[in-house]
């Protein structure tokens, strides 16, 4: 029973949701939608587990005085600050304090961290294009032409811009389409293995 029930749950719930994609039937629609809603609720419970994980992991780091334990205190305090204010204010995430924290702490930090990617991408490119292989050369050539096309917007060299559009919409798109089709196949294979009970990542 311990093994069979999870398999049944996974297979039945999965097949129902999948059937809903291909068969239009009022009852099936309703059941499928209900299952999806339930999945959302169950996943939200996982966040409670996430809270416990953060709390215990970082507390234990502080307790053992592990490397960088001071920062663990910061993590716990910041998390509780948001949670406490979020639950004190009736609007929750849209309350004044939480909004303030979001607008002036989380958003600028997050946006700037992502802006760092410009630097990291450039140094990764600097490193990668030193590989002297045919593949690397093709990639470098395409990158250069596309970047030139973007840079050419400020000049009268508009053929560069047209070439960029052609690269993006023909040869590059062919490659992307191939990758997308392959990934879709991979997703289908991986998902089907769950749906027919062949792969049981949930089971012991």
């Amino acid at each position: 029973m311990r093994k069979v029930i999870p398999i049944l749950v996974a297979v039945l719930s999965g097949l129902t949701v999948l059937a809903d994609f291909f068969i239009t039937h009022p009852i099936l629609d309703l059941v499928g939608r209900t299952l999806l809603q339930w999945a959302m609720i169950v996943a939200a419970f996982a966040f409670v587990a996430g809270l416990l994980n953060i709390f215990f992991t970082h507390t234990s780091r502080v307790f053992h005085r592990e490397k960088g334990w001071g920062y663990s205190i910061v993590v716990i305090l910041a998390m509780w600050a948001v949670l406490v204010f979020g639950f004190l204010e009736p609007e929750g995430p849209h309350g004044y304090v939480v909004s303030w924290i979001f607008r002036y702490v989380q958003y600028p930090l997050q946006a700037t961290v992502m802006a760092l990617l410009a630097f990291f991408a450039l140094s990764a490119g600097y490193r990668a294009f030193r590989r002297r292989t045919l593949e690397s050369t093709i990639m470098l050539l395409t990158t250069s032409l596309v970047l030139l096309g973007y840079a050419a917007i400020m000049t009268d060299l508009w053929p560069m811009s047209a070439l960029k559009e052609w690269i993006l919409s023909v040869p590059a798109m062919a490659g992307v389409r191939g990758i997308l089709l392959g990934v879709a196949l991979g997703i289908t294979a991986t998902g089907l293995r769950i749906l027919i009970g062949m792969d049981k990542p949930y089971s012991d």
Binding site: I5, P6, V9, A10, G14, V17, L18, F21, T34, Q37, A39, I41, V42, A44, F45, V48, A49, Y71, S72, V74, V75, L77, A78, M79, V82, L83, G86, G92, P93, R103, Y104, V105, Q106, P108, L109, T112, M114, L116, L117, A121, E135, I138, T142, V146, L168, P171, A172, A174, G175, R177, G178, L181, A184, I187, T188, T190, G191, L192, I194, P201
Partner: protein
């Protein structure tokens, strides 16, 4: 003058500069900022999960109208079982909940991949080379699209087929198309990052009033 928004602007500016300082050297302030960010984001996500899902979709319906929403007991039970995963010995109790999530997730993934990508993209790859239908440029482009997609698919062959010389040639062509796509995606990704950088620097200049 000292209203919260004014203070917030300068806090945001300070934090922005702190993150940029990472480029010069990894420092104490940067690490502090990142750990604050991690804590805040985790707290925020938990808050949203509770307020938008648990409270709105589970707790309130169950409290206000238990009769019609009696079905919600199922996700409630599954959710509580899920928490048992954290316990070393009782973890298996939560397997049912994980099974449910995996099942629904797999179905969504397959359905989406089939209906959204596999069929439309396959059909879109089926295009004519006939000069009478699409003209020379169209035929040329369609030919490249066809060859590219097919050869990339070939490149990913896992089981042995690449041992044949002709097939290996197709696979190398696929690799070339992948590299062209990578080159293009690298460039456009860089464009996005530079745009984000511009907007951050713009923010700094705005706050200091350049």
């Amino acid at each position: 003058m000292l209203n919260p928004d004014f203070i917030g602007q300068w806090v945001a500016l300070f934090l922005t500069l702190v993150v940029f300082s990472y480029l010069i050297k990894d420092n104490f302030l940067y690490r502090l900022a990142i750990h604050i960010l991690v804590g805040v984001a985790a707290g925020y996500a938990l808050l949203v999960a509770y307020k938008a899902v648990l409270e709105k979709m589970l707790i309130l319906p169950l409290l206000q109208d238990p009769q019609t929403n009696v079905g919600l007991v199922v996700p409630l039970t599954l959710g509580l079982l899920l928490l048992a995963k954290l316990l070393p010995r009782m973890g298996w109790v939560g397997n049912v909940s994980m099974a449910f999530l995996f099942g629904v997730g797999a179905a969504l993934a397959i359905g989406g991949a089939m209906v959204g990508t596999l069929w439309p993209q396959t059909l879109a790859s089926i295009s004519s080379f006939n000069l009478a239908h699409v003209g020379l440029p169209g035929a040329f482009n369609n030919f490249i699209l066809f060859i590219g997609a097919i050869s990339v698919l070939f490149y990913f062959y896992f089981t042995g087929a690449q041992r044949r010389k002709a097939l290996r040639a197709v696979a190398s062509l696929g690799k070339a198309f992948i590299m062209i796509a990578f080159g293009a995606l690298f460039a456009t990704g860089l464009v996005t990052f530079v745009t984000l950088l511009i907007s951050r620097i713009n923010f700094i200049l705005e706050v200091v009033g350049w």
